[in-house]
Symmetry: D3
């Protein structure tokens, strides 16, 4: 059971300069027969580190998802750990729509007792706690920790990020009681192996470190293979209605 | 302790034709010394009955809230039971931002054991359950029921709405075990007394029926009087950043 | 929408000596047109710092509330953070009955992710956790902290209380992760501004500090304005019955 | 490990006429070596069917418990399914204090997946749901059902109660999904066997029916045998303080 | 990112007669490059419809999983909706161990608001509710319904099962409020499409119907691709110790 | 109400050497008229410190329980804090089956606000958190702490265990906020008094310390006295079926 498929990864930000490494990592991660198309927004923020920026990314994320479905995509992955527009997009299309936060939190809840999220900036603590509450896993969340680096800095000097990630991951395990770790930014894609090594060197072998963007892509493949998508009882198609300001 | 104050009510929809009665109801409900300013959106949907429409209303709701704060408003009320943009707006301004759904659900949880929401259309069941989950009151939610009337129909023939509301309210009490009722659309403003009478005529006296828009306005007054607003630990001001497509 | 109204504040203790400043603070906090009447108990404890004292305050609190309703009061506020007799009083009267603990915990849950209660004595940790559980907000409670001062000492030297309050508030934010603070004793009324300043001086601006007694008064005003009261489905009027020992 | 012991059963009501059968049932239920002393209140309600009556029973229940401890009792059982004064009494004495509602709900949670409470009057639905919430077992509560008979009627014609109890018990199992039943009034003591037979005759063998008063007595014996009592960290002894109106 | 891999599907029952169709369905469902090996037990029950049978299946399931890991398997799928031995096996091996119940319940929680499980026999209601509680999704469980057919009957006449499945699925949606359905027996494998068609014919299009065995297989592939496995902080390797009776 | 009774204590391990003191403690703890029979396994692990060992103990624990019921036992106690086979045994017999973990966690939830478990080895943290979740008391669990001693070491040098137990108990109270303590291994039986003394010497008087094995025995007595047992709606008798490998 393996279908040729096309998955659209929506990076819900505008692209300034070249495509960041974390976005380039999707295509190689797809399985043979799965074509990955990456789209950036025309309208939206340069990066997402707040509920405000998340909100400003949503309208064009929706538009890009509708285009993707019309263009024959089999699934959509929204490449941001705040899952911008997840529920709205799910109403507008019938193909499965996958969010990295929802995916990685549920996966973490399957892999161990409690998980921690290691993210970029402290100000994301409340947004992640809100999503854990919304997804029903707040009682499995050991902590949210940050390395105090902005998303754009992260992309510009990836090497500098590994040690702080290991330091916070160790604290999550030893102080907060975490059994599983989730990267709190899809921009950290590709760093899981190095963090896991660092943990092992400090006596914590075989702690799963979830790379949420790639994990969301693989869950999208799974959904397409299984012909599963969001329930239209929960996410019915919106009514036709006058809507001003989003067509041009 | 009573201050002169100005509260901005943002109707997060575009206005076509004349101002609906439910919006006109805000100003008379304000206390002396409280000036109510109502603003509609320039960009957005004609009404909100889905997560999609909620999302499309958010960017201009944020813009209007920022304008309101800059213009000296003391608080913002978002006039829609899906609380569009509540958290995003709270990051962008320091004045209190009040959502009818959050307000009325918490109030209902104070007034009785379980509450039901009587809304316009069945498709809003999941969005209301999501918000009850998010606000931490899902275990107090007896049911969400609908009268199968769209928002725009509701505004056009308000008299026809009372009997269906009473019918669903009775079912909520007698079948679902509700102790308190909340209108699931701010367009139902002004109908609480008639519904309460209908309940009383059917043997259910003194059941609170919460009119969420007006209730949100009064909570805004309370917040201003008490000099309270959302925590900036939870809702810090977003970083400055390139944002394309929202300036013109 | 503003009615002339009378709110009865029941201080559920006996008064020895002069009225404490925290009780005197109610009348000035009421809005124009709202008359505040304060009553003390004839039978009960000198202060409330235990479930035992709470229980001993309830019978006369109920009696005073019934008198208030008979005397034309529009609402009752019970001036104690243990909400003594809240549910029993709600059965006996039809006017809204407001408790500071229930009010401030729900308000805190609206204003931020997690809240802490800063109270007088350590022995109140369990009673507050019990009430947070009862009101359905235990998962939003970051911590209960105390300044180790009895209620009666608090009233006698209010200036000495500010620094300890700031110290515990800082610990609540920095160690326990609180986003919102609630005073755990209505005797702390009037100290919120000073605590907020202390927090700001330590790098935590715009953290809401809830003064529960005054907040309960303002919620009572809101209830009367909106003609809302507790549900008689949850709090039906008690049956008539022989009751010995409470009439003389 | 079996100690001679004395258990004080406080019937938190005033006694008018002769001791009801449900109270007479305690002594025969005690084990050899366990002396049961029953006390009624001097001040309080004739029966308890509301939060109000519960509250009015508490002060003298506390006084009777203190007397019992001073008189050498090893444990106290409060003979009412609303557990009047449970926490307050636990502060005032060091001997274990047992409430039938808390005991039977936790026992039910051990014996099956979900339980229902079959009580006397509909108005007790909210008080029982409140206690289930407080004791942390609300998600195990399938339903609260009532037979529409007052406590005093119940005591006067016990035979008439069995069939309605069986009818509601059957509905609890077949409609609400209950696996375990709890009598929602200690006055129903002694009826469990008959109800269980009725259930068996209707195809539901081996459904536990918990008789809460007697169960509380047996848990008191267990506590004394094990030298366990409530934690004084949760229920510290109240401070000494002026208390007016409860000495004469 | 696609590895050659070998997944061991343990059917935790003894095989009498020929391999049932639901087990034969695994190999075709695997993706190219993924070899599926199915093993049955030497010691254990003929089918699993109780906690007792689940328990009797566990020791040999563990043994088979250890053999699989020693033999080079990359992951283990336990082919039974009671997830027999899931946690014990996870301690004994380092490769990912996947259970259909845990997988499908978390997936359902991602795809819609509430899910129902349609299983074979009524006696599985409590075991499924227990697992939903354990996995943290009990508040998303709308209902457990059964078609009153034993596992072995199910395998012997698969055609007869479709109509009862559709009937209960409709009731789950229309009466219980389910948005997503899960088959409550891996023996129902292959019937999802027919059930979904039946729902569509009754006005419920696009309701996900999860086939738990196949879904578990695909999640195992995902885990291997992502190099993820259960946390060894939660599931550490058991100590070496005398163990009698399981070696021959 | 006291019956002659026989309780079978199943020590779910094989016995090598002489009976450990903790097992010898059961008979003296029974009340007059209660005969205690202790059985060890023929097949199973030497001790239980993992989910794996728990699982390997279950089949023979079930067999021993069935033998006990056939032999006239009135109740079964499973002498291990992981409650091995609790639900499976409950299906196979009609007499009450009592597990120390379930019993002591519910009892702790009755005796105070939060409890901690002090166990032998760190690796039991996740298994105890799993059981707290399953029994519905996870939000009352302050912490799980360990003294880093294996079960077999514990039995061989009991005196050396007291000081580490006191140390961790103090940390549970002072750091984690525990109000009640539970021993996390039935092998610690008999040490509660010494630990309580140690706590008292450190300023924490009257903190309950629950000895789970003995407590389970006393709850078994209570169940027999009250003629209560697990619900057969939750734990129905398993169907007859081929089962290979467990008869010889």
């Amino acid at each position: 059971m393996e279908r040729a498929m096309k998955i659209c990864v929506i990076a819900p930000v505008i692209l300034e300069g070249k495509t960041p490494p974390s976005v380039l990592a999707f295509a190689p991660a797809a399985r043979p027969g799965c074509e990955v198309e990456v789209v950036f927004l025309d309208r939206g923020p340069a990066s997402i580190e707040s509920e405000f920026e998340e909100a400003m990314a949503v309208p064009d994320t929706i538009a890009k998802a509708v285009l993707a479905e019309d263009g024959g995509a089999d699934a959509v992955v929204i490449d941001c750990m705040l899952d911008p527009g997840l529920d709205a997009v799910r109403e507008k299309v019938k193909i499965p729509v996958i969010g990295p936060a929802q995916t990685s939190m549920h996966l973490a809840a399957m892999l161990g007792d409690r998980f921690s999220i290691i993210t970029v900036v402290e100000r994301l603590v409340a947004p992640f706690r809100k999503r854990a509450r919304l997804y029903g896993v707040i009682d499995r969340l050991a902590s949210v920790r940050s390395i105090d680096v902005s998303v754009l800095e992260l992309e510009s000097d990836r090497g500098a990020t590994i040690q702080p990630l290991i330091k916070e991951a160790l604290a999550a395990i030893e102080v907060d009681g975490a059994d599983v770790l989730i990267f709190g930014c899809t921009g950290m894609s590709g760093m899981a192996a190095a963090v896991q090594e660092g943990l092992q060197a400090n006596g914590h072998a075989d702690i799963p470190v979830i790379d949420p963007g790639i994990t969301a892509l693989k869950l999208a493949e799974l959904m397409v293979d299984l012909q599963l998508a969001q329930s239209k009882q929960t996410y019915p198609s919106p009514p036709s209605k006058v809507l001003i300001g989003y067509n041009g």
